[in-house]
């Protein structure tokens, strides 16, 4: 099942924003396996905004869930656009395709580099394909 695509990710950083602890663990494992040296996780948009300030540079990729308590993915996206965030972004969601489509439209209109919107779970193969454009 593993892809043969080579992803030059050594020394790269990522921020995963998801309220589900298991999803965060899973993506942390996968990104580390793909050579990311630093993967931070946040359980909502508000926490993610705080964490972003702690990165010396913009993370190489930001992976964001849509449905989260406190500050959800849509509100977080709006905050990123307001802050003129120009980093790479991947969106993920459960079964709610409509919300994912709405979030994709918001992200498309923003200054960030949008790598795609995906239904959960985000597999290694999908990550490799999406990150291949980095």
């Amino acid at each position: 099942m593993s892809s043969s695509v080579s992803v030059p990710t050594s020394g790269r950083t990522a921020l995963v924003v998801d309220d589900d602890a298991f999803t965060c663990s899973c993506l942390t494992e996968l990104l580390a396996d793909l050579g990311f040296s630093r993967v931070e996780t946040a359980s909502n948009g508000r926490q993610a905004l705080k964490l972003l300030r702690q990165f010396a540079a913009t993370p190489d990729v930001l992976i964001c869930d849509i449905y989260m308590p406190d500050m959800d993915g849509i509100e977080f996206l709006e905050q990123l656009i307001e802050r003129r965030y120009t980093g790479r972004l991947m969106l993920v969601s459960g079964m709610d395709v409509q919300t994912l489509t709405l979030a994709r439209e918001i992200a498309d209109a923003g200054p960030m580099k949008f790598l795609g919107a995906f239904l959960k779970p985000l597999s290694r193969e999908t990550l490799v394909q999406a990150l291949g454009s980095i």
Binding site: M1, S2, S3, D19, D20, A21, F22, T23, S25, C26, E29, L30, D33, Y67, P69, G94, M95, K120, P121, S123, R124, E125
Partner: protein
């Protein structure tokens, strides 16, 4: 030739209700051919789902349906990731009932949830047990 209209599902088609208890290939599709990572994630699922289930029970016992819905959403996502589709579907139903504050339905689904979760845990536990005896995997 435009055949898209005939390919669309009938809106009134009943939902699929025969979801598998646990698909052991789901974690392979998720992380690829990496047995140690598969096992670590399955162990992580067992621990996080037990924590989530306990928190959900606590919220249910106090009638906090917002929290019940939040925990059901979280467990749904994790369950579907590891291939526990029936548990995921059950959590989805509980999440919807909690959103609608359908207390009767919430109680019914909360009562069934531990049974279903236990069934999944046993299947995953047996799988991990057999995997560790076959290859002495480092967890």
């Amino acid at each position: 030739m435009n055949t898209s209209a005939t390919c669309l599902p009938t809106p009134s088609a009943p939902a699929q209700t025969t979801a598998v208890t646990w698909d052991d290939q789901a974690v392979v599709r998720l992380v690829g051919d990496r047995p140690a990572m598969q096992q670590r994630l399955l162990l992580k699922f067992l621990s996080t789902s037990a924590d989530t289930l306990a928190a959900l029970r606590q919220a249910g016992s106090t009638g906090d349906w917002v929290e019940v819905g939040r925990h059901a959403h979280s467990l749904k996502s994790a369950a579907r990731s590891v291939g526990a589709m029936a548990l995921g579907d059950h959590c989805w139903a509980l999440e919807q009932a909690a959103k609608a504050t359908d207390v009767q339905q919430c109680h019914a689904l909360c009562t069934e949830l531990p049974v279903l979760a236990d069934r999944v845990s046993r299947l995953i536990g047996a799988h991990l047990q057999s995997a560790s005896t076959v290859d002495g995997a480092v967890l």
